[in-house]
């Protein structure tokens, strides 16, 4: 952990990982989409509409995963002052917001034909919408200060405070009755999804994860480059 807090060392490691994560994303996405859209059976209740699941569920997982990632990075930044942790948190927020947005949109498109409504103010849907607002709030707050280190600190506090929402989203369908159905994959006992449908679902989950790793490396790299440019400009202004 401490070893990778050094930006130069991170950049060297990222250089090695990037082609693999990008290549894996393409391969997993191709396999997952093929199996999900063509190579898997229709559902006994929902028919072909069930295929929205292969995009909706992985993006929901990623919305939660990226936020947890961001909260851990924020804690590391606040406690150990690692320079890279702030950058990782800042770079994660827009990606997580994207996943959460995709989850909400595909959920609405799925809800209309199956439930009969685009949206319902039940605990699961509402807490997911709050997650999107937390991401957007984090993005706005980090950029709201002239001094980037103050913005990073305020953002870290917001990311940590907002983390209470993550278990609420996960367990909302168990704690309260909701229109959204309970968990199918991560439940006690066997997943309630047929193996022929579970395989493309997990492939898409892996594809989204490697996609996130790829985007994170690219975004952290450009953040570090931007910080370098700022530093050079400062030297020029003060030197000239």
């Amino acid at each position: 952990m401490h070893r990778f807090a050094n930006p130069a060392r991170f950049l060297r490691a990222a250089q090695l990982v990037l082609p693999w994560s990008a290549g894996l994303t393409v391969a997993l996405l191709a396999a997952g989409l093929y199996l999900g859209l063509l190579g898997s059976p229709a559902d006994y209740q929902q028919g072909e509409t069930v295929r929205i699941m292969y995009v909706h569920v992985p993006s929901a997982w990623m919305g939660l995963f990226v936020y947890s990632n961001m909260a851990i990075a924020s804690a590391v930044a606040l406690i150990w002052k690692h320079p890279l942790a702030d950058v990782v948190a800042k770079a994660s927020a827009p990606v997580g917001a994207g996943f959460t947005f995709v989850c909400l949109v595909t959920g609405a498109l799925w809800g209309k034909p199956m439930w009969g409504t685009w949206w319902a103010w039940d605990a699961r849907l509402t807490s997911m919408l709050i997650l999107l607002f937390l991401y957007l709030g984090h993005m706005a707050l980090v950029n709201a200060f002239d001094d980037p280190t103050r913005g990073a600190k305020a953002g870290a506090v917001l990311a940590l405070a907002g983390f209470v929402n993550v278990p609420i989203i996960k367990y909302s369908v168990d704690w309260w009755n909701t229109l959204h159905q309970p968990a199918s994959v991560t439940r006690v006992g066997m997943p309630a999804v047929d193996p022929a449908m579970l395989t493309p679902l997990l492939l898409m989950g892996l594809a989204f994860t490697t996609f996130f790793v790829t985007l994170l490396i690219l975004r952290v790299r450009s953040e570090l480059a931007a910080a370098k440019i700022r530093a050079i400009r400062m030297v020029q202004v003060h030197g000239g």
């Binding site: 559902d43 009969g116 605990a123």
Partner: protein, 146 residues
């Protein structure tokens, strides 16, 4: 205690306090966080016709009766039942034995629904598998009114 340790303790304590506060608030608002009442809840609460509310449960097998535009069915949570009258479009997933959430008013023990939504369970499988399970008698009646 080093400064790092102090910051670590501060963050941990803060998260703990925030978590506890959230848990207390959510417990206190438990009643307004549920999306619908079950037929048993309605029996218990004695809610009058002036309040708009949602009723959720399973559509009882064999209870759906169509009379022109009007649809009558019974919602059950296996412990209690409520009769529902509805005038309008039903969602595709509405069927007997499946989950349903109706919004409307309870008038003299009959629920006058203004909107009916379908609620499906967490099971996903191909039609052949569902048929095979039913044939073998392994069909688990785990569909709850939750």
């Amino acid at each position: 205690m080093t400064r790092k340790q102090r910051r670590l303790n501060f963050v941990l304590l803060g998260m703990l306090a925030l978590g506890a506060a959230t848990a207390l608030v959510l417990t206190a608002f438990n009643d307004s966080l549920v999306y619908f009442y079950s037929p048993s809840d309605l029996k218990e609460r004695q809610i009058g016709p002036e309040r708009r509310l949602r009723l959720g449960g399973l559509v009882e097998e064999g209870s759906v009766k169509r009379d022109g535009q009007t649809i009558r069915f019974v919602v059950t949570d296996t412990a209690a039942t409520v009769a529902v009258v509805y005038n309008g479009q039903l969602p595709d997933l509405f069927r007997e034995g499946q989950g349903v959430v109706a919004e409307g008013r309870l008038d003299n023990g009959v629920f006058q629904a203004a909107e009916v939504l379908a609620k499906h369970d967490e099971n996903y499988m191909p039609k052949e598998v569902a048929d095979a399970l039913k044939k073998q008698g392994h069909w688990q009646e785990e569909k709850s009114a939750k």
